[in-house]
Symmetry: C2
Subunit: 121 residues, 2 copies
């Protein structure tokens, strides 16, 4: 399961609060705290398979929500637009640096880069 | 209920697919097709109150998801950043128009405006 950590972290970031407390706890320990199934099982006093079932059900529940809503897909579709804005602001800085040396243009392009950076987080 | 149409349309846009088919249908007729509760009731052969209950439950279900996840809040928090990018690109165009008349700068600023526009939709 851990080869899908990035996707799982995204799902958890968006939909984690829709899980049961137990699902959320096990999921967090496994993917974010990087405990093994066996370690979680020992801490909780249940079987490794029991832990696995809870996590697999949590994944399935979040994936089903994403399949229906496409919200993460929508967020990720923003990325190429943000990258294009960053590239264009960078080119403005380069042209200005080489040719005009206007501090207002530098400042405005930097502001665009900062604001775009805030959107990428 | 209809004084909250904007908020309801946002909720439906994000979370509508998580409703039951019946909730989705009534919600759509009421908020998007602008039918009255009485009209929906007559079409469906149920009471006006029955229609109202379905819609109110749909609203509550979606609002609960938003209260937990904050996804719409997150999307809306992007708006001031997008507005700042648009403002800065506009200023770059103005400075360039008045002083440098460089077609590359115009084109790059326009590209930033186009890409930002795509993110606002």
């Amino acid at each position: 399961m851990k080869n899908q950590t990035y996707r799982m972290t995204m799902l958890f970031d968006f939909y984690g609060e829709l899980l049961t407390q137990r699902q959320r706890e096990f999921f967090d320990l496994y993917y974010n705290e990087d405990l093994s199934l066996a370690e979680i099982a020992e801490n909780e006093g249940i079987s490794r398979q029991g832990v696995r079932d809870v996590i697999v059900r949590a994944e399935a529940a979040m994936q089903e929500i994403e399949d229906k809503t496409g919200i993460i897909r929508r967020f990720e579709a923003q990325r190429p637009h943000l990258d294009a804005i960053i590239a264009a602001a960078g080119e403005i800085k380069t042209i200005n640096y080489r040719q005009f040396e206007d501090s207002r243009l530098t400042e405005l392009a930097d502001r665009i880069l900062t604001e775009t950076g805030a959107l990428k987080d």
